[in-house]
């Protein structure tokens, strides 16, 4: 689409950005900006960073924002670019805009309530209503938000329980081919309680070490946000990073150095917190009723 033809989309995006800032400011959140160019990226099995200027472009602002949490900033949000190498498709762009926020004293289910409030607030501001249409399907944010447990969905549609015997390859394949096609598309859907192995930076459930306190939000069948109760145990976090670096090296991926600044911040003490990352480009796409990022990113 021509740049001029994208005007309605760019106006929608402008309204979304200002409504988002208003929402967080009303709730006494502080807007922050953390480095886009970082010394070492967060270690995740399947996220690859671009090298830049002797370091890397950030794949997420998570580690720096958690350093702010540890320093006593209790409610912070950030809107900014993140970069992930090798991710390009209908729903992916190597450069994308992330909305990320953290709240001290909260857990993952508290932040779900806040996410619901945010999405209703911005939809009202951008569209003047709580529902939007995509592929002739109405998605109503005002309706019930359906919450499913990952273990339950896998048992029902894939015939096995990834919380008991985790098999990573099978988990990804079945999530895409058996679970996602069954998710309802006419109201918001939340998948919660992931296998511990599928959440490198999340806290495990007290009393069940197989389960990580993590959820993912789907709108119209599209994954839009990922939230955790954050892991605050420095020793456990170091161990997970080291495991991850080893696994990355084993399959030929670059094993990034550990972010020692982040780990020492955890050692000094980070409050129990919940955090969430939400893909803003995808939200624009959904609100615009588009089916590909091609239709909403002007310079793709």
């Amino acid at each position: 689409m021509s740049l001029a033809g994208l005007k309605p989309v760019l106006e929608l995006r402008d309204r979304l950005l200002s409504a988002t800032r208003l929402f967080f400011h009303e709730r006494k959140y502080l807007e922050v900006e953390t480095p886009v160019m970082v010394r070492t990226p967060a270690l995740e099995q399947h996220i690859d960073a671009f090298q830049a200027g002797g370091g890397y472009l950030r794949t997420s602002p998570e580690l720096h924002m958690k350093r702010l949490l540890a320093a006593g900033y209790e409610r912070i949000f950030q809107i900014g670019p993140c970069f992930r190498a090798g991710e390009r498709g209908r729903l992916h762009n190597p450069e994308f805009t992330m909305l990320e926020w953290y709240c001290a004293g909260a857990d993952y289910m508290d932040i779900l309530i806040e996410t619901e409030a945010l999405l209703k607030y911005v939809a009202q501001a951008c569209l003047g209503r709580l529902s939007f249409e995509r592929n002739a399907q109405t998605i109503d944010l005002g309706g019930e938000w359906k919450i499913f447990s990952v273990g339950g969905l896998f048992k029902k549609y894939a015939g096995w329980n990834p919380l008991e015997n985790f098999d990573e390859r099978r988990f990804d394949d079945d999530l895409v081919s058996c679970i996602e096609p069954h998710l309802p598309e006419d109201f918001p859907v939340v998948l919660k309680d992931y296998p511990a192995q599928a959440a490198a930076l999340a806290r495990l459930k007290a009393g069940d070490k197989h389960v990580a306190e993590r959820w993912e939000l789907y709108l119209g069948g599209i994954e839009i946000a990922n939230a955790f109760s954050e892991l605050t145990d420095a020793a456990e976090q170091r161990k997970r990073f080291e495991d991850c670096a080893r696994r990355r090296a084993l399959c030929g991926s670059e094993a990034y150095e550990l972010d020692e600044d982040f780990l020492s911040a955890l050692e000094c003490g980070m409050p129990q917190s919940a955090g969430i990352a939400l893909g803003l480009d995808r939200l624009v796409m959904l609100f615009a009723g588009a089916s590909s990022l091609d239709d909403v990113l002007p310079f793709r």
Binding site: Q45, G89, R169, D172, A198, S253
Partner: protein, 190 residues
């Protein structure tokens, strides 16, 4: 060698010795999960299609493909001989050319796609000019183009032409569709 992240629509890859072009490409990545690259591909020689899906660390071979600009020279039995500006020759079989063999004109410039030294496809200019060798006499003055009759060009290839076309006329043929496009010259003496 390609890695999975190089895959995209239009890319040519080699699978089990055969060259393929990716006709549909779909990247999926469940949150925090592995990248999955789904490809639909077409065999550049046989035209058959194939669905494959790849992971980040998968590698694919790059086909040894070469595109050469050549001029058509002459026919030798079932082979068609092309020559480049250094007079180097390539023989292309009727099977590889398909219907395109009827549209060759001496000295016409074509692009020949070569895989491991073997020609596998010939790209013609969009339009070529051919003389009508055989058709029912035309109706002078009937300039309608929506009523057609069969006509044959060299080699016996049949096309549908407007009624006003006569034997000996030169017409323009669209090589993409193999159909009549326009009249270029009227037969001498008519």
């Amino acid at each position: 060698m390609f890695s999975a992240s190089d895959l995209r629509k239009g890319l040519r890859v080699e699978i089990e010795g055969a060259p393929y072009i990716i006709t549909e490409f779909n990247f999926v990545k469940p949150g925090k999960g592995a990248s999955i690259y789904n490809c639909k591909m077409k065999n550049l020689i046989t035209g058959s299609t194939l669905n494959r899906s790849y992971r980040s660390n998968d590698k694919l071979d790059e086909p040894k493909l070469e595109e050469r600009t050549m001029r058509y020279s002459y026919q030798e039995g079932d082979n068609y001989v092309f020559m480049d500006k250094n007079f180097e020759q390539i023989n292309v079989s009727a099977e590889v050319l398909g219907d395109n063999r009827f549209f060759l004109v001496e000295e016409i410039e074509v692009e020949i796609l070569i895989h491991n030294g073997r020609p596998i496809g010939v790209d013609l200019p969009t339009f070529v000019e051919k003389e009508i060798k055989e058709t029912e006499p035309g109706f002078r003055g009937n300039t309608a183009t929506n009523v057609t009759k069969p006509a044959k060009i060299e080699g016996g290839y049949e096309i549908q032409v407007p009624l006003f076309i006569n034997q000996g006329d030169v017409v323009k043929i669209d090589t993409r569709t193999g159909g009549y496009a326009d009249r270029v010259r009227v037969a001498k003496g008519s």
